[in-house]
Symmetry: D2
Subunit: 288 residues, 4 copies
């Protein structure tokens, strides 16, 4: 760890900081080619290393992405850490409240991030009420959350002073208490984490951590991250039925062939991708 | 293990046999609802358990599928077992050739399954040459493979007779030697295995094992397996660019809306799926 | 799941219940022998299946123990569930407080289980003060914990009533709130969990869950569990230096040989264990 | 990857080479203390970082050791790679023989490493016959192994020339064919691998790879490796019964107390270790 990395602030008191990492885009290529001495191959052709990385992620040859490794320091509320640790492929070391006294730091959501229970989804919030009355109400709710945390911390503190063991006193702390951890993961499993946790359905409080992590890794693995955006994050799985619909509608609208072909070129699909897409859609490619 | 399960024959000497299993479709629902006493909810509505299972797999809420567990006995050539064991989420117990003498059983591919090196893909075979001359040539190749295995087994046998330790004598055996293992996996990881190994790009020799396993689990988890077919095996991931193409072409062909809607109903997409698909495609749904 | 299993009560409101399981002692043997038809071998000799199971666990041939699988329903305080989920080899499905309203159930430790912060260990409690004054003090502490939880639940309830989304309202709940999960694991990883969590250094509140689980699995895998007691739970790792000490002291006290040998027989070590132990200790075994 | 690492030769044609690594002894301490800025604490006292690392490994607080990560390039015979890949916690990328032609490189054991089937262990070799007649016989066996490999390679080569797809031609190759892989693992799981594979019961051919890896990591994590030698590799698990024997014999030989105490100091057990050992053995420690 030669240079010191600056933390990225997240939420009101949290942060994510790069502690250490291993590998770069070339490491993915070396692992895929099983070759230590592989020189970086450039160019626009199908054989360039950039194209290899994109091909690997697109076609689910995912093990080479395990060659990258990232270690982070994280400060986050307990309810975020609980969601995070559902990902069983990471290595975690969290500060133990059995061992050390916890700081008085609690997550109080910003007024414009509280919202109301969504009516369309059972597990979402609706942030659309931005009226003055709405925001005033949120300020009151913020006070309630702050008061609750503060009261819990008093209980915690008094019980400690009264000789209660740390491992028991802590059970009075609320889920918006900030905790601290070191977390380490390989690039492939980080992509899977980001795919789920930067998704619009993920809870806002973990999404901002996912976004901060992505900001950290993008300059470390720029080509792999671009591939992640194109083939994981920005991709959409079409079910068997949806595939059938798209293919059938295409068949009934043969005049759209030119539109499809035009766009495929415009969006710079590789030759291989164009061929596969056309085959899937039943589009006949005119040969040059 | 109350009843005895019959092995399914695979390749020339191999088989797959169900040893034991745990759970059924209801187990997935119980795990998802975190409820021991959940009664099976039927009906066509969005709240039925069948719809819940389909929703879970479609939306990547995958942990409930870990509630199912399958244990298999497998006899397969070593090159198949080597591919199989790349899946690190299974439990394996393979017969040890350090410990026991290996039987004289080798995989000799059928003449019509040998084919030639594919010209379009660096890692595939081309089975298109079905001429008499082609097949005659394959018979000669079968003999060569059989002879090679037989000669290796002689070496193995002689070295054993000569006192060479089993753990060394075995290094003379070829990769088409049959081995034997017990293999156990949860339903989610089995789906991931089947997704990759029943794919047309998978090597033929492991694909037939994947197919045999699917035949075994389909009656055990019929609803989950149907969801697997619709949302994993038969699905296709559209890249960010491909999504854009489909959306743009749709926009330029507004007269296709009715076709899309018609198909969505014809193919019995659930209400929620129809809504999501229409939103993605930019199709305005007429309200009843 | 043919029969219904009764929950075992743990702590004040928690429980553990067997939901489903797969395999028995014979499954471990079948996996180790890679043999579907293996009949159970009895007898006192080295080749009996009981001896095989004991040998496997003693000599770290651990994969056959992955043949057993256990699924549990658990109700436990959040701070227990947090420790539990550090074990990344289990499958978990926990009730989502984003999705459902949480019950008003909190863990209030019994007066005689509160104790004081240990002076010898930074992460333990000292339960030795059982004076009347001590217990009276604990009753006061119980009230504080109860009051704290009750106040948090009020905040939670009011915010929900006020329209705050469930996923945010829950952050006010303390760590002694009861939650609910389905948890599934194979027998080997369960043994590793029990080894750590039934240890006297584990926090009391998770230790009682480990004990309840052990009560559940003991009748399901009686021989494997006995081996677990002898070779994992009741075993002790001697460091390189401790091994050297024991060996050196033994060498300087040659008259203890008879004592060692006598005990080895008295404690019914198998022939193989006796031989290995004597070799390690440098004890010459008299031959009959 | 700033500097180039030299491969360490293993067996006749194999090697292990460090490709990349992450972390050092200080990383383990930082993870354990969950502290980015932790300065290295020196000294002989219980609070030094060296003592912390030793304490962590001794007391099974193992997650901080996951902070180290090692990536290796390996060339090894297939039967070694098969044993290696049973370790499911590594990331592997092996050269695909579906994709590329395999080199003509085979493992031919040295004459003095062939030996005979062990009579005492069903899965070991006996290297004790070093007579001239014995070695002459081994030379003959070497020739047989070489001839077998050479003949297999001819079959492989001819079938390829005859148009047989690579993925099928390779099934004729024997298990002593050299293959090539990139393999990556964290330090904790590497220790578990080394514990098993550098053990005298491990097959010789994988043991030499384990030894070569240890040579690579020792200078990278010197303190952790010393702890590994003292608390894992050089340690021995005493079963419940063996513990009882050692304790009972000690009780019947009270005059050995001084010997134990003397050795504990001589072997430089830490104060904490001395206290724990004495408590376990029932040795009363004289206070200064």
């Amino acid at each position: 760890m030669t240079k010191e990395h600056q933390p990225i602030k997240v939420l009101d008191h949290g942060f994510v900081r790069l502690v250490d990492y291993m590998g770069d885009d070339a490491s993915i290529v070396r692992a895929a080619r099983v070759s230590y001495n592989a020189a970086w191959r450039t160019g626009d052709n199908e054989k360039s290393d950039e194209n290899l990385i994109r091909y690997l992620l697109r076609c689910h040859h995912s093990t080479p992405f395990e060659a990258g490794e990232i270690q982070l320091e994280v400060s986050a509320p307990l309810h975020v850490i609980r969601q995070w640790m559902r990902h069983r492929t990471w290595s975690y070391n969290e500060l133990s409240a059995r061992y050390k006294k916890i700081f008085e730091e609690f997550y109080i959501p910003d007024a414009d991030k509280i919202g109301t229970q969504s009516k369309s989804s059972k597990q979402a919030r609706d942030l659309s009420d931005a009226t003055n009355a709405g925001l005033a109400k949120r300020e009151g709710q913020r006070s309630q959350i702050r008061l609750n945390a503060s009261s819990c911390f008093d209980t915690y503190h008094q019980l400690l002073a009264d000789g209660v063991p740390r491992e028991l006193a802590r059970i009075n702390l609320p889920l918006n208490t900030y905790s601290h951890m070191f977390a380490k993961v390989n690039l492939l499993n980080l992509f899977k984490f980001l795919q789920l946790r930067s998704h619009e359905h993920a809870q806002y409080e973990i999404r901002v951590y996912a976004d901060a992590i992505y900001e950290i890794i993008k300059p470390l693995f720029p080509i792999a991250c671009k591939a992640f955006e194109d083939y994981m994050q920005g991709a959409r799985s079409f079910s068997r039925m949806e595939c059938e619909i798209v293919q059938r509608v295409k068949k009934l609208s043969p005049d759209t062939d030119a539109l499809y072909l035009n766009d495929a070129e415009y969006l710079k699909l590789s030759k291989r991708e164009q061929a596969e897409f056309c085959e899937f859609m039943g589009i006949e490619k005119k040969e040059g």
